[in-house]
Amino acid sequence: MATAAITAEREHYLNKDYGIRSWLLTTDHKRIALLYLMSITFFFFIGGFFALLIRLELLTPAGDLVQADTYNKLFTMHGQVMIFFFLIPSIPAVLGNFLVPMMIGAKDLAFPRINLLSWYLYIIAGILMLHCIVTGGVDTGWTFYTPFSTAFSNTKVIEAGLSIFIAGFSSILTGLNFVVTIHRMRAPGMTWSRLPLFIWAHYATSIIQLLGTPVLAVTLVLVVCERAFHLGIFDPVRGGDPLLFQHLFWFYSHPAVYIMILPSMGVVTEIIPCFSRKRIFGYHAVALSSIAIAVFGFLVWAHHMFVAGISLYSALIFSILSYMVAIPSAIKVFNWTATMYKGSITFSTPMLYAFGFIGLFTMGGLTGLFLSALGIDVHVTDTYFVVAHFHYIMVGGAVMGYLGGMHFWWPKISGRMYPEWLGKFAALIVFLGFNLTFFPQFVLGYLGMPRRYWQYPPEFQVLNVLSTAGSTILAVGYVLPMVYFLWSMRYGKIADENPWGAAGLEWKTASPPPTFNFEEPPEVTWEAYNYDQIAAPVEVSLER
């Protein structure tokens, strides 16, 4: 607390150098994290803009706001931008990049230059995607299903495919960097069982990125080749099997969901012990469940294809495996709940997001169980039920975790506090807006409204209006944090080294941290989450 006065003059990673070059050529993982933060926020608002247009179109049953083709492009690009340019890089490339080295007591990632390269790849991919959007867009759906994408669509499939291919490599490089860093760069005393669970979650995520992404890459290469050179691998006219595409595509794209959700779970696992003032319940169970999710996540892909024409028996196998992946997720939820038991809980903004995460993720997960039940899946797959389900997981889960994490570590990133009451208010709005947007979609799907519909029978209108109303509220909830984060960078209260009284190495260095993270290389002599040994901060305890 005495450090607060000195912070202004102290040299740290933000004020070390000025000028664009010092940012664009930086190899400091913290600066790269901020570069990522700016770029993914940009893409988030583009994707969000598409989402709002989609919702507006669906306000009325007739297709009146945009043309059918435009609508198809809107949902395609909403999906592609949000998934490949926001969700997948969101937590790993921003919070992960910032925190992984700090949490394990390293001065940077193992390959700082590869880290910068991955950002540039991301930007190249992003520019290609933007160019694609501006010059006409794609209308294949983010899933690129063949033979529509290879032979029938007359939009810019090749460009979008290449863009995602490049973005995939950016993601692979990030994963590679994390794995090597976690293996090689841990501070003395930072054993595997002392690692923060955030690190475990990122480790599992990186495995998926490394082993899943290339399959998507090669699949996209084949699609592009098929379009450009008329190779015939997926096209039934040339003797190919369109289902093979789906197999290869989902082999990556199902685990990709875990790329989005696992880091978010990691964030929640940091927040809950901190604001419950308790050790995490079942450290090993939570750590192992991350790895289990990464492994099982690869065994379930064909549950996206139960009605696609796969064999009866493989549907059975994939259904039963899909239940297996639910177990580690359930373990996590139970452990978080148990961590709160007899804790001393503060309702701060990050904690509210963590609550939101658990609630929405559980909702999403349980509806996932319905979807993996073969009998129910036949009815609700490819309807709004699925749309609602994956938004509960990806937006309700991943984005809630991301926002929670941003609030939790914002003092560390910027050295300033955000306005707490506004934070709580925004969290509440996001939660309400989210449920209002997506809960009606569960009902819609159950009633049988198929997804990707530009116009729909009039009996579905009431629920669609509710959903559109919710989405505007949600949009406000997302703009608010951006505004007050920007505001706080200049006017926020100056944060000290550890405003939450949190455990973890990242809280043991100044806020914002110096360029090489620690003045002296740290040595770890304590167990993770030693909340029994850390006093709760005074400011927070005064606040209700």
Partner: protein, 290 residues
């Protein structure tokens, strides 16, 4: 279960809200508890799984002797053809209480045949047949949707399932200007294409005699056995050399690109009609479907 978790979170959150002077109690974790809350959900999941799987099995196994309707999907319409020869577009008339089996294929991209009211859905793929069956229990008009994104007018690829009382249905059938049953159309196409030169119905010609073949296992030249189902017949017409019947030479010309999907359906229906299913005298499966 979700309710239980939510209640617990809310209760814990309120009960253990931070107060002055109350320190959190440190609890490390418990292996027994971890195992319990892994195994119990697993058990519940397995029950749901079994339940879902049984329904799925029933849904995917069409009963014998169902009325067959051939479906061809294309961007962006459904073309349906009854055994009796009636053709419909985006509309399907069926009698109440009878099993109906749809044999579906697509002319271009992947579509999906979805009737929300019947809780059934099946993707329709180009290049092969997929099947779907149902039995309507209440007369009425129901939605038919395409549920797999198929391009510009995806959301316009909708139609109606009209379920009628049997008497009305018969009247409807009689009213349509059907040009002979599907199988008899198939027969005339069979003649036109010159198939009977080799596939003779009295003796084995240069090609196998097709009488009574459908639905039976066929021994192939390479020693494998396949069931002569719709997909096999289809493949044998389009790409005859792929699976040659034991004892025959691969001399049949390729019909890929020479017959339309509709003609193909008629041919399949014709070949099927050459082998009447056992107990055709109106014997219907005992299974009920809701």
């Amino acid at each position: 279960m979700s309710v239980a978790i939510f209640t617990m979170i809310v209760v814990f959150a309120l009960r253990y809200h931070r107060r002055h002077g109350v320190e959190a109690e440190q609890i490390e974790g418990s292996t027994a508890l971890e195992i319990t809350w892994s195994v119990i959900p697993l058990g519940i999941f397995m029950v749901i799984f079994a339940w879902g799987a049984v329904i799925y099995f029933k849904e995917r196994t069409p009963p014998r002797g169902a009325t067959e309707v051939y479906v061809v999907a294309k961007q962006w319409m459904w073309k349906l053809e009854h055994e009796e020869g009636q053709r419909e577009i985006n509309q399907l008339h069926i009698p109440v209480g009878r099993d109906v089996k749809l044999i579906m294929t697509s002319q271009d991209v992947i579509h999906s045949f979805y009737i929300p009211a019947f809780r059934i859905k099946q993707d329709v793929l180009p290049g092969r047949y997929t099947t779907l069956w149902f039995r309507a229990t209440k007369p009425g008009v129901y939605h038919l949707f395409c549920a797999e994104y198929c391009g510009t007018q995806h959301s316009g690829m909708i139609g109606q399932i009209v379920v009628m009382e049997p008497a009305q249905y018969e009247a409807w059938l009689g009213g349509g200007a059907a040009s002979g049953s599907l199988a008899s159309n198939g027969q005339s196409i069979f003649q036109q294409l010159g198939c009977p030169t080799c596939h003779r119905s009295d003796v084995q010609g240069r090609g196998p005699n097709l009488v009574g073949v459908f639905g039976k296992p066929v021994l192939l030249e390479d020693g494998r056995t396949v069931i002569a189902d719709e997909n096999y017949v289809r493949e044998s017409i389009l790409s005859p050399s792929a699976k040659v019947v034991n004892g025959f030479k691969p001399i049949m010309p390729v019909f890929q690109g020479l017959v339309s999907e509709e003609q193909l359906n008629a041919l399949v229906a014709y070949i099927k009609s050459l082998s009447p299913p056992p107990g055709t005298a109106g014997a219907k499966s005992q299974e009920t479907k809701d």
